[in-house]
Amino acid sequence: MKDRVQLLHTAKQLNYKTFSRKNILEKLQTAIAFCLLIISIIPITFILVYVLIKGGTQLSIDIITQLPEPPGDDLLSAGGIGNSIIGTIIVTTIASVISVPIGIGGGIYLAEYSSGGLFSRFIRFGTNVLAGVPSIIAGVFIYGIIVSTKLIYGSNYSALAGSLALSILMLPTIIKTTDEGLKLVSDDLRRGALGIGASKFITITRITLPAAFSTIATGILLSVARAAGETAPLIFTALFSFYWPQGNEILLEPIASLSVLIYNFALEPYEAQNELAWAASFILVMMLLALNIIARRIGKLTMDNKSN
């Protein structure tokens, strides 16, 4: 009998007490966190919706396929952003071609070969600093050593210079994600490969790198997305162009890009040019969104592979 009473008593203690100090505090905390979350996503949502409405309504086949017209030529139409879309794709592709192999190589060195000595700590520190450098510095740097000196075949403003500036921005992110992605790979896996007579090189290329693929690919795509949206480094290097990129010296001539078009046209006093800038913003946001979605997909893809 006494046992039963005891039991009932403990059962009561387990009941949820709505007004206990602990539970009220708990609810308060949840509410505060929720409010802060709402406040933080308002600006993002607002920007996205605004760009989608302002830019999306401008969209037409002509805008996507035509060349832009210099401000003031035609007060009713500013032409299209066809060459800017292609320019952005070319410049970021070349920037990736330059920075991805170098960045992955650097990351592999840090994670797999360095023994954590002074040199590698210096490189890691340098990478972190580089990652935080304002993008305009990359532009001015390339302007200083390549554009103003006409270092590459005597051309000054060029697509290649723009790509180099962007690749400087991408490099730290790629090195870091490779380094960290590889460090996440379990040492058991490396030992397993070495234990059946794989050389270090084969272990890295055939086992460790593939195991880190999703992390690295995600990092690369995000850095591409960041580079594709940059304006400052391109103003000093790739400049802008009102023509299609063509001929066999595409890379040595100035090239158009969406971000620089936005920068140039948004500030013009002409309505038509302003609207074109909005259309370009819309396309750019869509491209970045697509890159981000692909990055997430890749991340998920390999995660699923591992768990089953």
């Binding site: 397993g192 070495l194 059946i196 007579g197 592979n305 089953n308």
Partner: protein
Amino acid sequence: MIKENPLPKKIKRQNSSLILENVSISYQQNLAVRNVFLKIPKKRVTALIGPSGCGKSTVLRSINRMNDLIVGCSLKGRVLFEGTDIYSPKIDPVEVRRRIGMVFQQPNPFPKSIYENIAFGAKINGFNGDMDFLVEESLRKAAVWEECKDKLNESGYSLSGGQQQRLCIARTIAVKPDVILMDEPCSALDPISTLKIEETIHELKKNFTIIIVTHNMQQALRVSDYTAFFNAEKDEDNMGGKVGYLVEFNLTKEIFNSPVQALTKDYVTGKFG
């Protein structure tokens, strides 16, 4: 008090696959194991037993130069494999590890298909025969073919822990080493998987020299022909740290039934460890 050299006289030099001559291994400045003399017989199972921290894993890793991967680990003495000193400067450690394969405590299949897990090692070692046959043969020898044959293209992770461990054994067999080292291969497994792996080891003995580290005395008794018992003692020269050493090495049944050293007897009867 110390009785005479515990090396069994029965193992002849030419019948031994590996010979450890006065091997001492240190991590940085700290001596971990000292003065080990061992003759590992060919095509037999040799068990390494002893209390935790006595250096079993350290000795095992020194046999296929896995210790090279640990910064600051150094070895004195000689490790002879088929008469060749594997620590001589002209030796390629990658080649040593191909001839002396290793199975680890945690199953560590590659994040690839079951088929690829087996084929990988063979491919990188220049195998160009019938791969399908090799995969089946290796899986059969590791007693995991039945569980795998219908899902060769599925990920190695789709197997249970015990099956994964046998997959790792199969992967090691596929490169056709002479020696297989196993560091507590059953410690992460249930009793049934453990028994399966022990059966596998019995099978493998026909073709391979096997060295197995185990904490499980019954297991040593069940699977091994020879047993080496290690212990650790306080070492005054070593800043009071513990140093492992070989206490006794003999036929397993001798070690368990009539050990020479009192220490061995205490250990195998469970008085310490």
